[in-house]
Symmetry: D2
Amino acid sequence: MRALVLNCTLKKSPARSNTQALADVVIQALRDLQVEVSVERVVDHTIPFGVETDLGDGDEWPRLHDAILASEILVIATPTWIGRPASVAQMVLERMDAMISEQNDDGSYVAYNRVAGVVVTGNEDGAHHVISEIAGGLVDIGFTIPAQAWTYWNMGPGPGPSYTETDHKHDWSESTGKTMAANLVAVAAALKAQPIPPAG
Amino acid sequence: MRALVLNCTLKKSPARSNTQALADVVIQALRDLQVEVSVERVVDHTIPFGVETDLGDGDEWPRLHDAILASEILVIATPTWIGRPASVAQMVLERMDAMISEQNDDGSYVAYNRVAGVVVTGNEDGAHHVISEIAGGLVDIGFTIPAQAWTYWNMGPGPGPSYTETDHKHDWSESTGKTMAANLVAVAAALKAQPIPPAG
Amino acid sequence: MRALVLNCTLKKSPARSNTQALADVVIQALRDLQVEVSVERVVDHTIPFGVETDLGDGDEWPRLHDAILASEILVIATPTWIGRPASVAQMVLERMDAMISEQNDDGSYVAYNRVAGVVVTGNEDGAHHVISEIAGGLVDIGFTIPAQAWTYWNMGPGPGPSYTETDHKHDWSESTGKTMAANLVAVAAALKAQPIPPAG
Amino acid sequence: MRALVLNCTLKKSPARSNTQALADVVIQALRDLQVEVSVERVVDHTIPFGVETDLGDGDEWPRLHDAILASEILVIATPTWIGRPASVAQMVLERMDAMISEQNDDGSYVAYNRVAGVVVTGNEDGAHHVISEIAGGLVDIGFTIPAQAWTYWNMGPGPGPSYTETDHKHDWSESTGKTMAANLVAVAAALKAQPIPPAG
């Protein structure tokens, strides 16, 4: 089984990403469950704004598009800015908009029978909203969202340290991340054994 | 297989519910797939505000709570008011909050291995937001949300007719509702064949 | 100048309300600015679900409706449940839906030239989303939302103590609440001196 | 009085922007009210992702930042994608995040006493959510949101024509846009006559 993690931090490599630090917990838990995991930091690629799969002219989205379709599990990892998902996460959903109408040879939609989860960090508040926004978009695109397929670490109220600047409640976020990994794998396996049939 | 539809209209019976009219399409499609479907109009019951399973003193929620746990499929059907889910739908999520910690004998959480979908009506705008809010809450509680497990009929911009006052684009909402029913049944069946295991 | 605070806790009096505890900071700050403040705990009244100003038959909303219109400042205070505004807050917005079309003698809409703010508590996460949902609804209804017209105390990640069970970061929420009170009064005064004219 | 309109379409010039077409109604109404209006299509500029005012290295945000501060009125115009604000609109909010702590010489925050509104287009659904998300972010940053300071044109249910491909209900969106312009100007004028004082 394969998983793709798209880290939607605003910061290019090699800047340190708090979101990657929490995603790493989920990645390790997936690997412990024998899942082959790839990670891409979206801003390290040339991804123009748009809603088609290939915008040409150096567009590097098609490679990420193919990586999504090569995986049974997708994890969107994003920071929280102004209480909302990072613009990079929304840019990813927009590029995935084209997948709503892309079909396999048997007429099924390409996102069907894939599962997705969300990892969120932030230094104040907003995780559940970010999870709902991203999960809501992914369900539109055709992914299945397993029970508790998320983890987060947002600490408020008001401004405070970032995830990598403190150990406060990391244990809760890590334990939640392990359950997330287990649930993603379990539902992906169930859908592999017994897939959603193509629409009648 | 059993499904429970909770109609979260603000109007008590026998007032006509636009939301029920669209939910009926999904209910028929579920029955065509051999699912046994029950429907409850929440405001016809005495349901106090709160976050526990039994608030005593005439509380009729425990019966709905048991009906949820007797079903593999839950459908929340809600109108859109001020661009947001009906207060009755949020009241239902709040009463379901207690299910986050309720466990089966094997230690698994009670909502696990159940799937849920959303039906939305409105005379202006807001369906996708309402779907994300309710699906986001249900994932927190432990439900799995299948690919495109929703249908809606909201027509804008600005004020206009209600669902039962026009035939405009009913065909789209009905066809989407049939796909919703098929996807709910498919993922419920996959999870029945191969359930999410209790957390390690 | 008058202000009305609607406490949208799920708990009837005399149960202790964390939301009231934080709202009290804002109320004191408003009183220090010579504002006459009234407070109503919504669930202590008989308020049926609906979208009209008077549903008859013991409906106590009309008195709250009149209290809103007797005040230049409205504060909605709400807990966060499942990451979203309390059902009681949404019920209040729904009952206020009728105000969208209610007009003064000069043809202006009744909510125009009134300002509103939001107080949020929660023991995990979600304040900014709750603020956006309620402020978004109030702008639809015709209120003006001043700069930083909110305060909150939500502490995560994951479950933890409630507001009244800890002193953690109360100072931040209180200082933010005082700025909120000052901004509500300043914008209410500016609109009193120079009102939005009735629509042409 | 000056206004700045930031068009957050995903499409670079000279591609036709539906969002610009609706924004033009608001722009004309502002000009009729003697407001000097500038318009910028954000994607025509080099704007890197981030949360600081000047990211150096060809960053063209500082010029837009200065244009915001040279205007009493800000209008964010955005399409709806996957039911949510365009990534470009969120990118703009992120770059404006730095303004939360930028102060004038008298200690007041730079966004204070400025007003903001939102223009939304989409071919399906989502306007009220997009308005709440953007208005919620702008209130965090320090803007005041006047009563009904928005217009939109989203037509559903399901896929359909874009704004410039039909005349359906343009009259409603245009009339709402004129009220939006009048309300933005009225509240901006009231705050100019009697500003929010710097925090004590």
